[in-house]
């Protein structure tokens, strides 16, 4: 009967909290790392098309993203496809300058390795995509990647 009974009336000693700071630091570092990985706030709706012949983009620090799609807030911005560079809507003419500023953030040796990833909604018309591609050609940002989802192989 006395199996579960405390031997005496002494209270449990307090748990050592010495390792708590370690855990908190661990979480802190984690948050710091993930905030760097976070992408921009999307202002356009993007559902990329499916494809099977795709590659993974390897070096993420060398990738510049261009988003094209229907604006989230269609009451204000309408339903025509818009281009988003960084955190803001942009004009086609600004694409070249944006690529140039991105280039400035890298070493000269890395510039030929830079890739531009086009994240385009599948319902977008090709007109705007072609215009962006022409702008990229003008600044000789020739390596591009059409962002897609992985589809099932037929």
């Amino acid at each position: 009967m006395s199996k579960f009974k405390k031997d005496d009336g002494k209270a449990d000693p307090a748990i050592s909290t010495a390792s708590l700071p370690d855990i908190v630091f661990m979480l802190l570092f984690f948050f710091m790392v993930t905030t760097v990985m976070r992408e921009v706030d999307l202002k356009v709706k993007i559902s990329t098309p499916e494809a099977t012949e795709i590659q993974k983009l390897k070096n993420k620090s060398l990738v510049t993203y261009i988003y094209i799609g229907e604006p989230n807030d269609t009451k204000v911005y309408g339903t025509t496809s818009r281009i988003q560079l960084g955190d803001a809507y942009a004009n086609v003419k600004e694409v070249g300058a944006y690529i140039e500023t991105k280039r400035g953030e890298h070493d000269e040796a890395e510039v030929p390795l830079l890739v531009t990833s086009l994240k385009v909604d599948e319902d977008t018309k090709m007109g705007v995509v072609t215009e962006v591609k022409q702008e990229l050609r003008k600044v000789s940002a020739l390596k591009i990647s059409y962002s897609t989802r992985e589809g099932a192989k037929k």
Binding site: E53, M126, T130, K133, T148
Partner: protein
Amino acid sequence: MAKREAPEINAGSMADIAFLLLVFFLVTTTMDSDLGMMRKLPPTLPPDMPKPPPIKDRNVFVVLANANDQLLVEGELMDISELKEAAKEFIANPMNKEALPEKKPVDIPILGQRMVSKQVISLQNDNGTSYKLYIAVQNELASAYNELRDELAMDEFGVTYESLVEKGDKARAKAIKKVYPQRISEAEPKNVGGQ
């Protein structure tokens, strides 16, 4: 003074923390996957460049896409599902047909002399073509090249082209690529169907 033993730390909450980290890892890994089709744009040409010599009609595989997302392949209306087979036959020209591309012998390291066809695929779309169809066409054409390369790699080395690339066997992969070089030319889009 008698030494009192230190009480054991309650490890019950450790599991919660581990789960928290696990969930975090799960979330971050899904964010990390950026897949895409890598392409190279043609460089801008200087205006005084002489015109390149014309390509013979039989060497060009014309794919047109209109604003209603219909395909016209070599002058015939075609469904996207048939495009891959048509492209494969054009690229390889296995029966050496008159209407399909010419071939010329090329010396290729490892494989020796091969007949390489002078094929070019020309892709033209309208400003009103949907991006979805454009990607689908690009995908089918790339898939045609990859399947032919796979077949050749299976015959020659007993492995798929994909596995050659993955294993980093550059010399062999390059040889295969030389037999079936991917030549997709994109013409300036037309603006018939409007934006």
